[in-house]
Symmetry: C2
Subunit: 328 residues, 2 copies
C-alpha cells in the first residue's frame, strides 16, 4: 500500500505532517509518498530515524495557501503539492490514496477536475465521523457543495450508507435528513423535494432529524448541504471550546473547585478524547473517483497519523469499488 | 403596563405559564392578561394568592397544538389563544405586548397577518440573546424566515442594531454576517449579495463571521437566515446536553471524580446559569408592528417570568418607536 500525503498542507506544515507520517509508518502497514517542497520535507525527515524505503519524497515547488481562492489556485499553480499529489493518484496503479490538511476548496477542486466523478454521482461531498452520546455517526456534507440540488443529497445519502456499512461496521445504518422540523412538510422547498427523493430511493431512510438530535446518536448517517454541515461542525467545536474556557475560568475562582477538578481529571481527559475529532482521522471526500482524505487545517501529528489509519482502512475495505457497485 | 400572555402555549401550559405570571407580577411593574380556555386558566390561578386586579383572563376556546401546521391553523382557528391574543394587542391602546410559548410558526403567522409589518421591513425575524465567552450577543434570525432574500437580512441587521443599543445597552454594536469563510468572496451567491448590501448600508458592519466565532463574543449581533440560525441554536443546545450527559456518565464511573464534582458544584451551577437561555427571557419577534415575544416551547415558569421581564424592558424603552425611527 502507498498513500500520498500533502507535506505542505495545514497550519503546521511540513513539521507536524512529517512527524505524523513517521509515527504512522511505524504503526500501520503502508508506505507513504510525501509531496511538497523537497528540501523542506527532507530537512524534516532528517530529524527522525525510520526505514528509508517506506517514505518517498516527490518534489512540488508551489504551495497553495490556506486562504487562497480554490479554483484559480488550481488553475494557476500546476506544480502545487495538491495538484501534483492528486495527479500521482490518478496517474498510476502504484498509489492508493491522497491525504491533505491543506486548503479544502483546492483539494475538492483538484480532485473533481483530475480524478473525475464516480459513475452516477454529480458532485463531491465531504463526510465526517462525529462522536455522539451513543457511538459514532457520519455527517455529510460538511463543506464541499454549499449550493446543492436535491439529487446531490440523495447521492450523499447513498455514499454515506456504503461508508457506514463498510468502514464504520454498522449493519443497517439509519439515515436522517437534517431539517428544522420532524414532519416531512417542514423546511424549504429544497428540503421537501429532498425528503421525497430519499423516501423513494433510500430504504433505510429514517426521515427528518432536527439539529438537536445530531449528537444524540439517533441516526448513523446525517445528510445535509455543505453550507449547513460546515456550520454544524463549527458551532459544535465553538460550544465545546467556549464551555471549556468558561469551566476553566470558573474553577480558578475557587480553591475547592480546583481540588474537585484535580480529582475529576482522568475522567475529564477520557471525555476530551471521546469528543476530539482528531481521534477519528480525516474527513473523506466522497464522490470522486479515487480515495481522498481531508485532514483538519489545524492538524497535529496525531491527526495526520489517525487520518492515515482511517485511509488504510478505506483501502483495505475497497471503499471505491464498493461505492461504484452500490451507488452507480 | 399590560402584557398579554398566551396561557395555552408550550408543553407545560397552562400550569407553568400561570405560575410564571404569578411570580412576574410580584417582581415587575406590569399587569397581565392571560388568554386561553378560561375555566382551565382560572383553575390554575385559584391555586395562588395574588392581587386580583393585576391579572385578567380573556377566554379563547381553541388551542393550536405545538406541531399543527402554522398557516392553516391560524386561518381555521379564529378563536385560538394565539389569534385572540394578537388581536387584543392590535385592537387596543390598553395592551403593550404579547408573549407566547406556543407554536412558533403560528405566532409568526398571526403576528404578520394581524399586526402587519413595520414600515421598511418586508419580513419578520426572531432574535435571540445568547451567552458568549465575553458577554451577551444577539443572534437573528433563529427561525421566522427560512428562505430570505438579501434585503431581509439587511432589515434584520438594522433591527438587531436597534435592539442591541436600546435593550442590551451596547453603545456601538459590532454586526457580523454568519458565513462559511471570513473573506467577502466566501459562500453562496446569496451570501455575497448580502455581504455587499450590509457593507453599503450598515456603518458598524464587521464583515463575515464564521460559526466557530459565534460564542467567542467577537460580534454583538450575528445575522443569518432563519434556517441556519435555527440549526445553530439547536446544535448548541444539543452539544451542551450531550456534553452534560457524557460528563455525568464518566463521573459516575469513579468515586474520586464524584468527590471532585461535589467540590466543583457551586462553580458548575454558576456556569449552568450563564449558559441557560431561559435566564435571558424570550426571543423577540422583530419586524411586526407590535411587541411580540416568543418563549421556548419547553418553557418553565422561570422562563415565562424572565420573558415578561425582558418584555417590560422593551415596553419601557419604546422598542417599536425606536425601530420605526431607525429602520423605516
Amino acid at each position: 500500500m502507498n498513500i500520498i500525503v500533502d507535506a505542505m498542507g495545514g497550519d503546521h506544515a511540513p513539521y507536524e505532517i512529517v512527524k505524523g507520517v513517521i509515527q504512522a509508518i511505524k504503526e500501520f502497514d503502508t508506505n507513504v509518498t510525501l509531496v511538497g517542497v523537497a528540501d523542506d520535507v527532507r530537512k524534516e525527515l532528517a530529524k527522525y530515524d525510520y526505514s528509508k524505503d517506506r517514505i518517498k519524497v516527490v518534489h512540488a515547488p508551489e504551495v497553495i495557501g490556506m486562504h487562497d481562492p480554490a479554483t484559480s489556485s488550481i488553475r494557476k499553480k500546476k506544480n502545487s503539492s495538491i495538484t501534483v499529489g492528486v495527479n500521482l493518484l490518478k496517474g498510476s496503479e502504484k498509489y492508493d490514496a491522497f491525504i491533505s490538511a491543506g486548503n479544502t476548496g483546492a483539494v475538492v477542486c483538484a480532485s473533481t477536475v483530475i480524478l473525475k466523478m464516480l459513475p452516477g454521482v454529480e458532485r463531491p461531498a465531504i463526510g465526517l465521523v462525529i462522536p455522539t452520546q451513543k457511538h459514532l455517526s457520519f455527517l455529510i456534507d460538511v463543506g464541499a457543495n454549499t449550493d446543492p440540488k436535491p439529487q446531490h443529497l440523495l447521492h450523499s445519502a447513498l455514499m454515506a450508507n456504503v461508508y457506514a456499512k463498510k468502514i464504520l461496521n454498522i449493519e443497517n445504518p439509519k439515515i436522517g435528513l437534517l431539517n428544522i422540523g420532524a414532519e416531512e412538510s417542514k423546511g424549504t422547498e429544497f428540503m421537501k423535494e429532498t425528503h421525497r427523493l430519499l423516501t423513494e430511493r433510500v430504504p433505510n431512510f429514517d426521515g427528518n432529524l432536527e439539529a438537536n438530535e445530531i449528537f444524540s446518536g439517533r441516526c448513523d448517517c446525517i445528510i445535509c448541504d455543505g453550507y449547513v454541515g460546515n456550520i454544524v461542525i463549527k458551532v459544535a467545536e465553538s460550544v465545546m471550546e467556549s464551555a471549556g474556557a468558561l469551566i476553566k475560568r470558573e474553577i480558578k475562582k475557587s480553591p475547592l473547585a480546583l481540588w474537585g477538578a484535580f480529582l475529576m481529571k482522568s475522567r475529564l481527559l477520557h471525555i476530551k478524547k471521546h469528543a476530539d475529532y482528531t481521534e477519528y482521522g480525516g474527513a473523506p471526500l466522497l464522490g470522486v473517483n479515487g480515495l481522498v482524505m481531508i485532514s483538519h487545517g489545524r492538524s497535529s501529528a496525531k491527526a495526520i497519523k489517525n487520518a492515515i489509519r482511517a485511509t488504510v482502512r478505506e483501502v483495505e475495505d475497497n471503499l471505491i469499488e464498493n461505492m461504484i457497485k452500490e451507488v452507480g
